[in-house]
Symmetry: C2
């Protein structure tokens, strides 16, 4: 048996698949108790071997002959990803998209709580959206520090995203999910994820 490895030894390409596993497990959980690598592979378009290899990086989660207990596997994957707890998040940029984000309940269902919403625009400042008041950017630093927040979401126009990201990093933010359609230039220890539908559409256009 393999010892579970040091966190930093595990390639990101595997980490990136773990949330996908959680997605299908959450789907399967509604109708059954156990699953196996073949079933998971078919649902995700991966090979069964790959799924077993991925899990084996972290321990032995299955039983020969039986497969994986779904609830148990979910717990283990949540532990690995550190999502077996809640995280506080700040959101910068309250345009159409920011408002949709504030009104969406899905984040907190998965443990991500948008604690603060910020925008400079006088037209939205002070409004209450999805129960949260829109605050001025001048409150951002103290807010992040008071609640020890490490994750930020950026939903500003592309033109402001870099400046906002620089601010966030200077205030201690460690991970950013940005919806802005521009590449951010940040220190290497800051983890950035891009959610850019144009990139996705351009990708699928190739195959049409």
């Amino acid at each position: 048996m393999n010892d579970p490895k040091n966190r930093s030894d595990i390639p990101d390409i595997i980490i990136a698949r773990l949330p996908r596993y959680l997605r299908v497990l959450n789907l399967l959980r509604e109708s059954k108790k156990t699953t196996n690598s073949t079933e998971l592979g078919e649902m995700l378009g991966y090979s069964a071997a790959q799924i077993r290899k991925d899990f084996s990086q972290f321990g032995e989660f299955g039983k020969q002959g039986t497969g994986y207990n779904i609830d148990f596997l979910i717990v283990k994957l949540q532990e690995i990803l550190q999502v077996n707890r809640t995280w506080d998040v700040v959101l910068i940029g309250i345009g159409n998209l920011g408002k949709a984000v504030l009104n969406y309940r899905g984040f907190e269902k998965q443990g991500f709580f948008i604690r603060g919403a910020f925008d400079d625009d006088p037209a939205v400042k002070g409004q209450i959206i999805g129960n949260r008041p829109i605050q001025d950017l001048s409150n951002l630093e103290s807010f992040i520090k008071e609640f020890d927040i490490r994750i930020a979401m950026i939903a500003t126009p592309a033109s402001e995203a870099q400046a906002v990201a620089d601010l966030l990093v200077s205030y201690g933010i460690k991970a950013i999910l940005t919806y802005a359609s521009t590449i951010l230039n940040l220190p290497a220890d800051i983890h950035v994820e891009y959610s850019d539908p144009i990139v996705s559409l351009q990708h699928i256009a190739y195959y049409l």
Copy 2:
């Protein structure tokens, strides 16, 4: 010199990077005429060699000693991705997110025109959002066929996404961008992209 390869010979991992290249090129274009693989690599976090290798799959786009002409490179990448034209798109699901999508101008700036917006909910049906009337799903088939639409975006709740996707495919849709937080089970020739912020947040949580 390498012959440009058959489309299907080129690995998807390279295709997936092309839209990223376009992103930084659009940024660079504002301030300069040419760039090179080192600069592009630094901005994207890739090695210079990888960028040259990627481009070399499709032809010779650079000049020794000079680098790449930005405008020319943009044109070539757009050709490859088939985004040197416009595409019509339908959007299903007009909740908070769907409305934000309809009001966002960024899609058409990149050539993706949301021609039709559909939802079953009587509360939104008939409304005009971002200049487009919200239509009943019963119009969907004829709409897709009349305008020969191949791309759909799904912004429904997760619980309805699979049923909507099945419908879309049966009407001839070939590519889907879904915001719904569930895995879709579709024929292999349908290209699906997921835009799921929870997956992204769970991914970065690992590194906190």
